[in-house]
Every structure is written in structure tokens, then in C-alpha cells.
């Protein structure tokens, strides 16, 4: 079968899952940012420094793993620069700040001041971001990454398609909450929500048009069906309900609706536990989201509450990839397929398969998806 035929078959399978329609087999999607170089014998430092190498090694890992339908997040650009932009924090970079074959790490600290909220409110998000970024990264790195993206971004996604793999999402955005939380640091930001709620909310309101444009831009430039809408520190388990209702959901709703209005799917990459507020997600446009869970949210409860509204993607735990045996992975996939599939499920590592994933566990994940994902 040609790669083009494979691509169309896999795209159809994934679209059926997104639309909650019957599938011939539950789609299986890859995500292993740091696992790919480790699996293929490339240093993490090279993966971080060379975006061409990052793309090549991800593709090579997927080809070695076999019949994968797609990739949740395509490596497009230098991951540490992208993470800096998402977290608004310094990133410790392998080969520079850390040993060459270790994992990159976010160095969360209070890099944004309380006064910076006024800058956002008075001058806008973009102006603030431009002034803020030099606090957390050498701007020469950002310029180099931008240059690479301008020259290569569309081609990256096309390469995955040419090899038969469906890029699920391109680029990403998130609620203002996550950007501010990263920049202020989680403890400081959470305290801001109690102490200066109106100022925080005013800043969030100013940020929103740029957050939406960020998501639309990622999807447009990549040609992928969806874009990432991330949530980690805004999870239900972390926030008092009154805070979640005020600072999270209204913005999530706005972003997803705006993306949906522009025919862009929201891949709700939700880390941590969102159990308490799953029912609120029913207010999001139907079949315009994928709920991408990391195993901390109760995936069966999510299916029960949201199964007629959105597909679920995930959620094989990272600790199982790192510590479990192949049988543990196979059993997890079997149970997931039985309880959450076959319609409206996309099998995927929860969050991101970790750097110390045992190769046999990832290989078992793909094999088990085929064994247990086939619809009789």
C-alpha cells in the first residue's frame, strides 16, 4: 500500500473517531518527544539544538514502531524555545545547562512582576511579551528558531503526511491562565488570584484575542486538522471552583468556540485531574474537540459524561511506560479499548511518553493497540 493510500486510510479512521462514528480499528497515535531520540540513539542535546534532526528522529522512531496512524504533536522547531514560549520560563537545556543526554527542564521562577499585569492591560499582550522574553531566553535563539520555522514549518507536516502519518495538531495555544502562571510561577500566580483577582482578569481579557490568533495561526500554517489547547496548572484538582469558574472556563470556552467557528479542532491537552469539571466541558461545541488525557483524570468518567460530545485521546500513564512491564501496557490498552472504545477513542501515551520509556513498552503499546483495537 502506498504511503498516500495509508495516509488517507488513517486520516479517515481518525476523522471517524473525532466524529464519534464507527471505526474499523481504534486509531493509535504517537507521542514521545524525548523518547524518540533515546530510542533511536540520538543525544537529547542534538534533539534540542537541531530541529531538522528532531523531525528526522521522530519520523524514524515512528517508522520503526510500525503501523501508527498519526502523531499527536509534531516536533516543529527547537523544543526548548517552544517550551519557553509556552511557559514563559527559563528552560534548562541539555548540552548547555544540563548533561547532553538528560531531559530538558522548566526552571519555574517569578519572572513576571505584579506590575507587569498593568503593562499587559495598558500596552497589550504582544508588547508585554516582546519586553518579557529577554528575561527568560537569549533572543538570538528565538530569532534562529523563527527563521527555521518560516522556512520549514509547512514542509515538516508534509513530510509526516508523505510518510503516511496524520499530524493531529499543529502549533498550539492555551488559556491566558497558563501563560501568566508560568511567568509569575505557580505559587505567586495562585496567590494573585486571591489577592488581585480583578487585575488578573483584566489582563486575561486583554490577552484573549492573541491567544485565539495563536491557535488559528498554528492550524493554518501546519494544515493539521487541530491545534493544541493546553491545560495543566488550570486543572480542576488544583483550583478552587470559584477560581476555575472565573479564570479558566470562560476563556477555554471562548478559545474552543473561536477555533471551532474557523473549522479548527481543539486538542484539549489536559494534564492533571479534571474530574470535577468534566460536565462543564459539555458546553463546548460537540465533535470539535479531542479530550487528550494523561491518566490523572478518570478516563471512564470522562467517557460516561462526554462520550457523546467529544473524542478521548490517551491515556497510557507515563509511569507505566517507564516502570511497567510489557504485560502491564498490553493490559492497560486492552481495558482502555474495552471500556472507552471503540468509537470516540484514540489510543495515545498519556501526556508524552517519557524519556525513560522502555522500548519494549512502546512497542507493546503499538502492538496492543492493533490487537485490542480491531472492531469485530
Amino acid at each position: 500500500m502506498s504511503n498516500q493510500t495509508l495516509y488517507q486510510e488513517r486520516l479517515t479512521r481518525i476523522k471517524h473517531a473525532i466524529n464519534l462514528e464507527p471505526v474499523d480499528r481504534i486509531p493509535v497515535v504517537y507521542m514521545g518527544s524525548a523518547f524518540s531520540p533515546r530510542y533511536m540513539g540520538m543525544s537529547i542535546a542534538k534533539y534540542c539544538a537541531d530541529p531538522d534532526a528532531a523531525m528526522d528522529v521522530t519520523l524514524a522512531a515512528m517508522q520503526r514502531l510500525g503501523d501508527l496512524d498519526g502523531c499527536n504533536l509534531i516536533p516543529a522547531g527547537r523544543i526548548t524555545v517552544i517550551l519557553t514560549g509556552q511557559w514563559l520560563s527559563r528552560i534548562a537545556v541539555p548540552g548547555r545547562d544540563l548533561p547532553a543526554d538528560s531531559l530538558w527542564q522548566v526552571q519555574e521562577a517569578e519572572m513576571m512582576t505584579v506590575e507587569d499585569y498593568d503593562t499587559i492591560i495598558n500596552q497589550g499582550w504582544r508588547a508585554f511579551e516582546a519586553s518579557f522574553m529577554p528575561r527568560v531566553i537569549d533572543m538570538a535563539e528565538v530569532r534562529a528558531n523563527d527563521k527555521w520555522l518560516m522556512a520549514n514549518l509547512a514542509g515538516v507536516y508534509q513530510r509526516f503526511r508523505d510518510n503516511g502519518f496524520v499530524p493531529i495538531s499543529g502549533g498550539g495555544t492555551t488559556m491566558p491562565f497558563e501563560f501568566l502562571c508560568g511567568a509569575r510561577s505557580m505559587p505567586r500566580f495562585y496567590q494573585d488570584l486571591y489577592r488581585i483577582p480583578n487585575k488578573v482578569k483584566a489582563a486575561m481579557d486583554v490577552m484573549m484575542p492573541d491567544m485565539i490568533q495563536m491557535g488559528l495561526g498554528g492550524a493554518r500554517l501546519s494544515g493539521a486538522p487541530g491545534t493544541w489547547v493546553g491545560g495543566w496548572r488550570s486543572a480542576s484538582a488544583l483550583l478552587a471552583p470559584k477560581l476555575w469558574d472565573k479564570f479558566v472556563f470562560p476563556y477555554l470556552h471562548q478559545i474552543v468556540t473561536a477555533l471551532s467557528d474557523n473549522q479548527v479542532l481543539s486538542v484539549l491537552h489536559f494534564d492533571q485531574n479534571w474530574d470535577r469539571d468534566l460536565a462543564r466541558l459539555r458546553e463546548l461545541p460537540a465533535k470539535k474537540c479531542i479530550l487528550n488525557l494523561d491518566s490523572l483524570t478518570d478516563v471512564r468518567k470522562a467517557k460516561e459524561i462526554l462520550g457523546d460530545r467529544m473524542a478521548i485521546m490517551g491515556d497510557v500513564p507515563s509511569s507505566l511506560f517507564a516502570m511497567g512491564a510489557p504485560d502491564d501496557i498490553a493490559n492497560y490498552v486492552r481495558d482502555l479499548a474495552r471500556d472507552v472504545g471503540p468509537t470516540g477513542l484514540i489510543l495515545c501515551p498519556g501526556c508524552d511518553a517519557p524519556i525513560n520509556t522502555k522500548p519494549e513498552n512502546m512497542e507493546t503499546f503499538v502492538a496492543a493497540a492493533h490487537t485490542y483495537g480491531v472492531v469485530a
Partner: protein, 208 residues
């Protein structure tokens, strides 16, 4: 006044707590009694977390208020940060530089009157051993957000088990992806699903 203070802290009323602490100090109330009220407020916060009324954000705010209140008392009490319930050594293990979860646990344990020796992040196994020997601590808390921390936890626990320590040590672990599978793999005595669980474990192991 003490009830009012503990209630204000439990209600996360920062301004009221700080005003009450200052007013009581000005009125000559024993600083130790004020501290006890603040700790009672933190106990109420913990209970509200257990019952699902409070969430992590509430714990963060309560911890911040408690810290300010004890800072006001500090000069009068000559507080050195030590508690009387026992010594707990805690740190983020070698190779992991994340500290938010660990810091939350440290704050809650101090509020619960434990003497916490916070070793920071990226802590090598031998450092834990050395501080346990030095302090005679009977509980060690190991934190790690990343899955790469699991091996460092295992090595640290192995080093603690191999060392000649003044007293037997219980080890608790915590972090984003820690599960019972991880606990068993690294050889810890228990793991905490959330920060308040560390206080529960220490109360079981040391205080009770």
C-alpha cells in the same frame, strides 16, 4: 480571639489574619498562643482539603498567609523554624530541579509543627544520608516531578537503607507521576497523592 484567628486563617482571609496577629501581639498575648491559633487554622484548612471543600490553590494561599503570620511572630518568639513534633528531611532527588510540590509539603509540615530540613532540589543520595545522620530524623520525603526521578529515588532509598543511621527511617515519596507501582519499584514506605498526605503520613509515623 484565638478562635477568630484560626477561623480567619481557615477562611483564607489574609487581611484579617495579619490584623488579628498584630492586634494580639500589641495586646500582649503570648506569641506562642497566637502561633497555636494559626496552626489550628492550618489544621482546619487540611480538613477542608480532605473533605473536598478546598483545593491546591487554597493550600497555597493558606501557606502564604501562615508564613506571613509567623514572620510577624518571629521576632517575639525567636523562631528558628524548628518544630517540636519531630524532624523530617525532604528534598527533590538528584537530576530533578522542580520544587513547587516539595515547597508546598515543606510549608504544610512546618505549619503542622515539624522541624523540616529542606535540602532543595537536585539532591544527591549521600546528602540525604548525611543530614539524616546529623539530625536523627526518622522520616525522609523524596520529591520528583519527572519519571527520570524514579531511579534517583531508588538510589537514595538504597543509600539510606545501607547506611548506619541513628534510628530506622521511613521514606515517603511524592510528585506528579508517582503511583503505587513507583513506590514499590523504588522501595519507599508510602507515597502521597497530594501534599497534605505528607502531613498525614508524618503524623502516623512520628507524632502518634
Amino acid at each position: 480571639m484565638a478562635d477568630q484567628l484560626s477561623t480567619a486563617l481557615a477562611d483564607l482571609d489574609e487581611v484579617a489574619v495579619l490584623n488579628l496577629v498584630q492586634a494580639q501581639l500589641d495586646a500582649g498575648v503570648d506569641p506562642l498562643a497566637i502561633l497555636t491559633s494559626c496552626r489550628e487554622g492550618m489544621v482546619l484548612v487540611g480538613k477542608r482539603f480532605e473533605t473536598g471543600e478546598y483545593f491546591i490553590s487554597d493550600l497555597v494561599m493558606a501557606g502564604a498567609i501562615f508564613k506571613q503570620a509567623t514572620a510577624l511572630l518571629g521576632s517575639r518568639l525567636k523562631l528558628d523554624g524548628s518544630g517540636t513534633n519531630g524532624v523530617v528531611v525532604i528534598g527533590t532527588v538528584k537530576g530533578d530541579i522542580h520544587d513547587i510540590g516539595k515547597d508546598l509539603v515543606v510549608g504544610l509540615l512546618r505549619a503542622a509543627n515539624y522541624d523540616v530540613r529542606d535540602l532543595g532540589v537536585d539532591v544527591p543520595p549521600q546528602k540525604f544520608v548525611d543530614v539524616v545522620k546529623e539530625t536523627g530524623a526518622t522520616v525522609v520525603g523524596l520529591s520528583g516531578l519527572l519519571t527520570i526521578s524514579f531511579e534517583a529515588m531508588k538510589q537514595t532509598i538504597a543509600a539510606l537503607r545501607a547506611a548506619e543511621l541513628p534510628a530506622p527511617v521511613k521514606v515517603m515519596i511524592g510528585g506528579g507521576s508517582v503511583t503505587d507501582l513507583v513506590r514499590a519499584h523504588v522501595g519507599a514506605d508510602a507515597f502521597g497523592r497530594d501534599a497534605p498526605q505528607a502531613v498525614v503520613l508524618c503524623n502516623q509515623w512520628i507524632k502518634d
